[in-house]
């Protein structure tokens, strides 16, 4: 078959990229080879537009065992324990087929984690939908939530935290990011680098079908009106098989037979084999006649590009084949030796006794295109609004409106579709600042959270990038955890657009600055470009997944009010920044202006001091102040506990709206027993941190003296109605 320009274009390759392929091969590729190049050179697999920027992120630290570049990042949590985690996007498939797209997103990220030898212990998700009024939103929400649950519940990993947001920017391109966290012994971590010649390359797991062919290429292009036609490129998930695969792999990992292991994720057999060979500086030869196929008559092209789920590729030590096979057969899974490592440095594909494709490994990996794309800076927007000119609204009305808005409503409709308790180590579930998972049969626990602030990032990517890292850090601190490291999922529009590329570059600079300052390195991540439809790009939405450590689960803390008469102390100064706030957006539909300023040195000082207080058992409950301002944070403390609060009116700021709805950063609310108050204030003062007592815990009423008084049950009702009525 002659490769025409049309075929090249269909494979998502640019004419100059095709010229480069011919140069590297010193000939024209055949169709199979072209397909393989297309799978390896697309944005999703090659990171060709992002690599230059990603390499600036801080990825090292005392507790980092493995940074980006492997299936997932690995951190040291003391003793012989390691935590392995990563977040990944499954945006495009989920928009086309929400249930399967979301489900396989969960399946894929779980494989990334157990491939490295970890037993997964928690799942998280960050999901962004279009406006609730958009005709597609309701079915997408239903499909995605049940897809995430369908996979995680069945495989038996608790889904413990997440965020669900709505904004019209995602009307035609939703975001579905899934994060998995696993636990392994430090000396039992498995990597993808192949070693040694003539070692068996083994295929395990499900059979290969015709689903998901070119999925990664699909995820590397914008949508248009024909997106629905892309349904066949979406994979179909089978959590039952994945459960078996996980148990079988973990069983095989108990001894030393695995040299290298890689899951067949995006670009399936192609990327897994190339990755292992490339890292090991080896060649790899596959006999495609041996590949277990679901359907008859599958071609090498289909086998190499299928993204059928629940498959793994393993390079095995010599003479271990028999024992390994026994394990997989016990779990009723395919186990077939399909090839071997070679010294040719080529990917060699045989089918029916013929070589049907041969490509130098480095042409697919290290020599893949790398782009220094043009990007432009975003100027810090100016402040143009005088709050006194806006139509007056009563504080109570504004609070009720915000509490009942889709974004701030109680999300138990979502979290109740997930099994949060299976494995029985979930010490804190969703709805808290961060979830807490105890390490099985140990005293210590990890805290996990996912966060994003797309509107801040849109207004000023540099500040937004910093802010999400700080938000993640604060959420971990608020449950009593020491923040250790993050993973990130970078959801952006079309990188060929210099504004989008600028958003990406500047968000990354922000991330880098905050991670460096807070000593909170990035250990894994994923980039998702081309989120948009017909040239309309989504707002920049980097998502950060943070992991922290709690030495003793007993010291965990949450934001549930504990006792009548306790005092609420606010840590960090309120300036009343309303631009980009929930208040401006929900009440006045104002979306202009700069995001709140991020002061890294305050963040660090405030956070470390709060953590010290929590560890000193001086705090009854804690909550970070984020979107919605202090009034929302105070209300959330009431809503989770059914206690009320008596809140004193501010003495300094003249405008109540600025005071209560301002989204200034670096702030926490701490519930303190009166007997501890003096001691706490002394410690905070000693660290030069602004603090003020703002409220007292009382029964039944959420009250701001002289302003409003609402019964907690009423507040609860308001906060819980949106999802149930949608």
């Amino acid at each position: 078959m002659k490769i025409t320009n049309a075929i090249v274009e269909k494979h998502g390759l640019k004419p100059d990229e095709y010229s480069k392929i011919k140069e590297l091969l010193e000939r024209e590729p055949n169709l199979l080879e072209l397909g393989i190049f297309s799978a390896m050179w697309n944005e999703h697999c090659s990171y060709k537009s992002s690599r230059l920027h990603l390499k600036n992120l801080p990825t090292k630290g005392k507790q980092v065992i493995q940074g980006p570049g492997e299936n997932a990042g690995v951190i040291d949590i003391g003793d012989d324990d390691a935590i392995i985690f990563k977040i990944e996007s499954h945006n495009h498939p989920s928009f086309i087929e929400p249930y399967q797209g979301a489900a396989t997103g969960v399946g894929g990220i779980l494989r990334d984690v157990f491939t490295m030898g970890a037993r997964p212990i928690a799942l998280l998700n960050s999901i962004h939908f279009g406006s609730p009024k958009h005709p597609k939103t309701k079915s997408l929400l239903n499909g995605v939530v049940s897809g995430i649950g369908g996979y995680g519940n069945c495989i038996g990993i608790p889904t413990v935290a997440g965020e669900t947001k709505f904004d019209s920017t995602y009307n035609e391109n939703i975001l579905v990011n899934a994060m998995a966290v696993g636990h392994a012994k430090k000396d039992k971590i498995f990597y993808s680098k192949a070693k040694g010649l003539n070692k068996s390359v083994v295929y395990v797991g499900s059979k290969t079908g015709r689903d998901g062919i070119h999925g990664a290429s699909m995820a590397s292009a914008e949508f248009d009106e024909n997106s629905e036609d892309k349904k066949p490129t979406v994979q179909v998930g089978d959590p039952f098989t994945e459960k078996l695969l996980m148990e079988a792999c973990l069983e095989l990992m108990k001894d030393k037979s695995i040299i290298s292991i890689q899951d067949m994720g995006a670009a399936g057999l192609t990327s897994s084999s190339v990755e292992m060979a490339s890292k090991g500086e080896l060649g790899i030869e596959l006999n495609l006649d041996k590949v277990p196929c679901r359907e008859e008559g599958m071609t090498p092209y289909e086998m190499m590009l299928s993204e059928s789920q629940e498959r793994m590729l393993i390079v095995l030590e010599n003479n271990k084949e028999k024992e390994a096979k026994k394990i997989f057969e016990r779990w009723d899974l395919d186990f077939v030796i399909i090839g071997k490592t070679t010294n040719t440095n080529n990917l060699t594909l045989k089918f029916k006794n013929e070589i049907v494709g041969e490509i130098p490994i480095d042409a697919l990996a290290s020599k893949a295109p790398l782009y220094d794309r043009k990007w432009i800076k975003t100027k810090l927007p100016t402040k143009k609004i005088n709050i006194k000119d806006l139509k007056k609204i009563k504080l109570e009305d504004a609070l009720i409106k915000i509490l009942s808005s889709p974004n701030e409503s109680n999300k138990s409709w979502v979290s109740e579709q997930f099994d949060q308790l299976v494995m029985t180590d979930t010490a804190q579930r969703s709805g808290s600042d961060a979830a807490i998972i105890r390490i099985h049969k140990k005293e210590k626990a990890i805290a996990v959270t996912v966060d994003s602030s797309a509107n801040y990032c849109k207004a000023h990517p540099l500040t937004g990038g910093k802010q999400i890292v700080c938000e993640s850090w604060r959420n971990l601190i608020s449950v009593g955890a020491k923040p250790i490291a993050i993973t990130n999922c970078l959801n952006f529009g079309n990188p060929e657009n210099s504004k989008v590329m600028g958003e990406f570059a500047e968000c990354l600079i922000g991330l880098k600055e905050a991670c460096e300052f807070l000593n909170f390195p990035v250990v894994s991540g994923n980039v998702s470009f081309y989120n948009g439809t017909n040239k309309k790009n989504i707002d920049p939405t980097p998502v950060v997944g943070g992991v922290g450590l709690i030495q003793n689960t007993k010291n965990k803390i949450n934001h549930i009010l504990k006792k009548e008469g306790n005092i609420i102390l606010q840590v960090g100064k309120t300036f009343g920044h309303l631009y980009q706030s929930v208040f401006f957006k929900e009440i006045y539909s104002i979306t202009e202006g700069p995001p709140p300023e991020v002061n890294l040195s305050n963040e660090k000082n405030n956070g470390e001091t709060v953590l010290k207080l929590i560890n000193g058992n001086l705090i009854a409950s804690a909550h970070d102040i984020s979107a919605g301002g202090s009034i929302l944070a105070l209300a959330e403390m009431c809503l989770s506990s059914r206690y009320g609060l008596k809140i004193e009116k501010p003495t300094k700021l003249s405008n109540l709206m600025e005071h209560y709805f301002g989204e200034d950063q670096g702030r926490y609310l701490l519930e303190i027993e009166p007997k501890n108050l003096e001691k706490v204030i002394k410690i905070i003062d000693a660290n030069n941190i602004f603090n003020e007592t703002v409220a007292t815990v009382q029964k039944d009423y959420f009250e701001i003296i002289g302003e409003l008084k609402i019964h907690i049950n009423e507040l609860y009702k308001v906060n819980n109605k949106w999802y149930n009525n949608y």
């Binding site: 069945c154 459960k243 308790l421 029985t424 979930t426």
Partner: protein, 225 residues
């Protein structure tokens, strides 16, 4: 006391129940579904999860597995059998317990803490609970909506074969506290001889105050009594 936990492909609460049993010092053995003999057991647990991926119908394939023949024999000989969640579904599929578990009334998976009232504490499974005691358990299922014939329902009520009913925090058994649509708020049932208990809530998830609560402990203590 010797216990056996049956493990099917797709079981995922097997480790949880084993941890709970061991905490209460049961001598526990995990039994693989392909085994054809059961170790000597005073208690057999059919755990929760998604045996065979819920393919065909939840519990349907597991009910036909080798080991289930042995479980049925032991149960008929009076051995104590506890089926939790998917285990309950499997027991109804084998016929050891009558009735079926339909899709939840809202057609969604439900994972949340709920309250149940102890309706019958005069049996091997609940004797450490007080009569009418309200317990906080956790449910996590797609098909927990218990349904049976009117005759059988009457029999269950008349013979006091319902140990737990869904209720509110105060013990009121009302429609609005019925999470899944079960007939008469049924959360679990016995067979006639009360040696087999099937229940949708997970007592094994409530054995540690620091994690989620400990209302489940007394179920296991009852068995030891």
């Amino acid at each position: 006391m010797n216990s056996s936990v049956i493990v099917f492909p797709g079981s995922n609460c097997d480790r949880d129940i084993a941890v709970a049993l061991e905490k209460l010092e049961f001598k526990n053995t995990m039994v693989w579904h392909k085994d054809i003999t059961l170790p000597k057991s005073d208690l057999i647990v059919v755990p929760g999860g998604f045996s065979y991926g819920d393919h065909l119908r939840s519990g349907a394939i597991a009910a036909k597995s080798n080991i289930l023949n042995e479980v049925i024999k032991s149960a008929n000989d009076g051995c104590l059998v506890l089926g939790i969640c998917n285990g309950f579904q499997i027991l109804t599929e084998t016929g050891l317990l009558k009735g079926v578990l339909l899709r939840n009334k809202n057609l969604k998976f439900l994972g949340k803490d709920i309250y149940v009232k102890t309706i019958n504490n005069n049996n091997k499974f609940c004797n450490k609970y007080k009569q009418d005691q309200v317990l906080k358990f956790n449910i996590a299922h797609n098909e927990g909506n218990y349904f049976t014939s009117l005759d059988h329902l009457k029999e269950l009520e008349d013979k006091n074969l319902i140990p737990f009913k869904y209720c509110d925090e105060k013990g009121n058994i009302k429609d609005e506290n019925n999470p899944n649509g079960s007939l008469n708020n049924i959360a679990g049932i016995f067979n006639d001889k009360k040696n087999i208990l099937g229940m949708m809530p997970h007592p094994e998830r409530m054995v540690d105050q620091m994690i989620s609560g400990d209302d489940g402990i007394n179920l296991f203590k009852s068995l030891l009594n």
